[in-house]
Amino acid sequence: MSLPLSSASAAPAAGELRALQERIHVLQGRRNRQGSYPVLPCFSNLLPGGLRGGAAYSLETPLSVAMALLAGPSANGEWCGAAGIPDFGAEAAAGFGVALERFVLVPDPGPDWLPAVSALADVLPILLVRPGGRVSPGDAARLGSRLRERGGTLLVLGPWPQSEGSLRVRGSRWEGLGEGYGHLRRHEVELEVSQRGRARTATVDLAAPGSLGRGSLAPGSLGQGPPTPGSLGREPLDHRAPGGVRPALARIPS
């Protein structure tokens, strides 16, 4: 890849340079320690900075919201995983945009929950877990320090003692199913995020038709921050044809 050297194009070049550096970090196995992982545009209002690396999020939401949250980082070339969810519908996750070729599933982490999850959190940037039972604050703190060290993000289905933010469902509505006809088409979920004392709400359609696919995923809409590592790395890493079946999560104005 050649970089333009003339001063006229210095500003875009700087951005490109930064992106290239990020890409090098990814290839070298270093995580963006202070950085964050991008989320799909439908969550940009709820989580403007994306998912922060080194933090845990508590999700008291349906599994599909968690899948949609995984989709953003996964589309950016990150490896994702799910632990303790034996009924994880991988096909639905693929529909949300989770790249299955970079996905690991540990259906049953066993009776020793913490060591297995820690081992996974060491190697996977984004990990979705459903704890088997109540998690003690000590365990949570230990796992938290491990996360901060590695820069990974933990998404917990259920309550979590020291979470960076928590997502809650305030209401959900299905559409498309009648009395013996039709099929489920729309799933509108009203989500609330409380993060550092602030609460944001947005309504998300988790089953939007694929027509809004790629257009809404333009880099500009991925938050206001600098170009993400993925905006450069996405092309070679994404195996789907452009304009293909990228799912479709559109924001519904609330």
Binding site: S64, D87, G89, A90, L100, V123
Partner: protein
């Protein structure tokens, strides 16, 4: 005695093991020794033991007839693969005494006599060495030395039990063969024709001029003619002894703890990998045979995305031991969708737990190998090494089937549509092709997030609280009204529903046939479900959440 025959073909030493198929069956443990036994081919006795012969069983008898003559007869079917397999160690033992062995067929092998005669001093002692090698294995053998392979084979067959070596002096092969019947050629059609023409012995065939033999009997007749004259055109082509890549570890006394076995196996695993490495090979598919002292065998194939190192081999053996007795049965299920998920649910033993019976032998054999040079780590692309290492460590902690990688599969049931493959293994062959097929009758998008790994029994009732019935053509007597999600759950009203969506497939296939109906329902708790009904019973296949 000249080292070369008149025709310029080197003299041959042939070692013959009488009744080899039967001996092989005895070696394989399928026939007990010292009992009347017979091998069957197409319903006829092809080989029988001396005890059976004494009872009046002869070759070519029908099974029923043989059994009526000798009621305690043990009959097994002939198996050429078994004959060859059991002959392999015999040839290996012969090669230690006489190098350059050619296997003519299982039970019969030839060596060039010259080198052996020079080494042992005479042809007699060379033949003696061959017989000694056979007797060390406890096998009965006969040896013959003559000018051609055919003559030497006939000599070996004519050797008596008491003097199992027959040497036909150089140049006298034709005279030795002259008295033998034409059936010795081993070509029944030609032999029967020759007999009908009045040529009873090989000598009378050998006297005919070659040009007449060719014009009457063709190329086949000419070969027979040359053989009868003691000029078998076959040369001896010694086999290249295969380098043993298998390794076995024997435990005496047997070990019954997984950690002990893993520890004791380490040197064998290292020798196995090193043996392959010396050959420039890398094992990508490993077969592990485990034998315990109760005689139980467990056998399983393991794949590896790169190639097996010693630690990987030990891990696979440990997993096989830990997965309990189900390993032998899990072997054949690899091609069935969902089997990986099923395997992951087999109960795992912990490392310290004792096994059912002590293990006495573990054999490692490479099923698939590749050139080592082609199996290097890619510089770019491929899986991050640290990630791979971390996941493997987790696999060692939790068991092989616990770290899974979803692969899109084909099928109509949602659980079939994503195959869970243990980390490091490839998806079963044909998965990608199956996934690409259209699969009419698939569930419309959006797909449910929770797909139950095992169908969850539920109840779907109509207005009268009777189980919902769907007619053979998908007709409903009454719409669904009530729903119990799982055993012990409270009753919910069905708010809206769609269905039945008929699921009919492969009625001719007992394993995969399905005659079911699907319903999508939304219940009073605002939960959406995908239900599957078959024969009046209902299950939840998935939940939309």
């Amino acid at each position: 005695m000249s080292p070369e025959t008149p025709s310029g073909i080197p003299r041959a030493l042939v070692v013959w093991f009488p009744d080899w198929p039967l001996v092989a069956a005895q070696l394989a443990g399928e026939v007990p020794e010292r009992v009347p036994a017979a091998l069957l081919e197409k319903g006829l006795v092809s080989v029988c033991s001396a005890e059976a012969r004494a009872a009046g069983v002869v070759r070519g008898l029908r099974v029923r007839e043989a059994q009526s003559r000798c009621p305690e007869l043990v009959a097994v079917h002939a198996d050429p693969a078994r004959d060859g397999r059991e002959f392999e160690p015999v040839v290996a033992a012969l090669e230690t005494s006489l190098p350059g062995v050619q296997i003519l067929r299982p039970g019969l092998c030839a060596v060039r006599a010259r080198g052996a005669a020079r080494y042992y001093g005479s042809e007699e002692s060379a033949g003696g060495a061959a017989l000694e090698a056979a007797s060390r294995l406890g096998l009965e053998a006969r040896a013959g030395i003559a000018d051609s392979v055919f003559a030497a084979e006939q000599a070996a067959r004519r050797a008596a039990e008491l003097s199992p070596l027959l040497v036909v002096a150089g140049g006298e092969s034709a005279a030795f063969l002259a008295g033998l019947p034409v059936t010795a050629l081993g070509e029944p059609k030609l032999a029967s024709l020759l007999v009908r023409l009045g040529l009873q012995t090989l000598g009378s065939l050998a006297e005919l001029p070659p040009s007449d033999v060719r014009s009457r009997f063709g190329a086949e007749g000419l070969t027979a003619h040359a053989r009868a004259r003691g000029r078998d055109p076959r040369a001896i082509v010694p086999r290249v002894p295969p380098v043993p890549l298998e390794r076995a570890a024997d435990f005496e006394p047997g070990l019954d703890r997984v950690d002990q076995i893993a520890f004791a196996l380490r040197p064998t695993a290292e020798a196995f990998v090193e043996g392959l490495r010396v050959q420039g090979l890398a094992c990508t598919e490993l077969r592990v045979h485990i034998t315990d002292d109760a005689g139980q065998r467990s056998e399983r194939t393991w794949g590896h995305p790169h190639h097996f190192g010693a630690g990987d081999v030990v891990d696979r053996v440990r997993w096989q031991l830990q997965s309990g007795g189900s390993t032998a049965s899990s072997r054949g299920r690899g091609n069935r969708p969902g089997s990986a998920a099923a395997q992951s649910r087999t109960p795992w033993r912990t490392t310290g737990e004792a096994l059912a019976a002590p293990v006495v032998q573990i054999r490692l054999s490479p099923d698939k190998v590749d050139l080592l040079g082609r199996r290097g780590q890619a510089l770019f692309g491929g899986v991050d090494e640290r990630l791979d290492h971390g996941l493997r460590r987790l696999q060692t902690m939790l068991g092989h089937g616990s770290v899974l990688h979803p692969v899109p599969g084909g099928g109509r049931l949602l659980a079939e549509r994503s195959l869970l493959v243990p980390w490091g293994e490839d998806a079963p062959a044909g998965t990608a092709a199956r996934a690409k097929r259209p699969w009419p009758g698939a569930v419309p998008e959006p797909l449910p997030a929770t797909v139950f790994a095992e169908l969850l029994p539920v109840q779907l009732l109509d207005d009268d609280a009777a189980p919902l019935r769907v007619g053979p053509r998908g007709d409903l007597a009454a719409p669904p009204a009530w729903f119990y999600p799982g055993p012990g759950a409270g009753r919910r009203a069905v708010r809206s529903w769609a269905g039945p969506w008929l699921l009919r497939q492969r009625w001719w296939d007992a394993d995969e046939s399905r005659h079911a109906e699907r319903f999508q329902i939304l219940d009073s708790e605002n939960e959406a479900w995908l239900l599957l009904g078959e024969g009046g019973r209902w299950w939840a296949e998935a939940r939309y959440d």
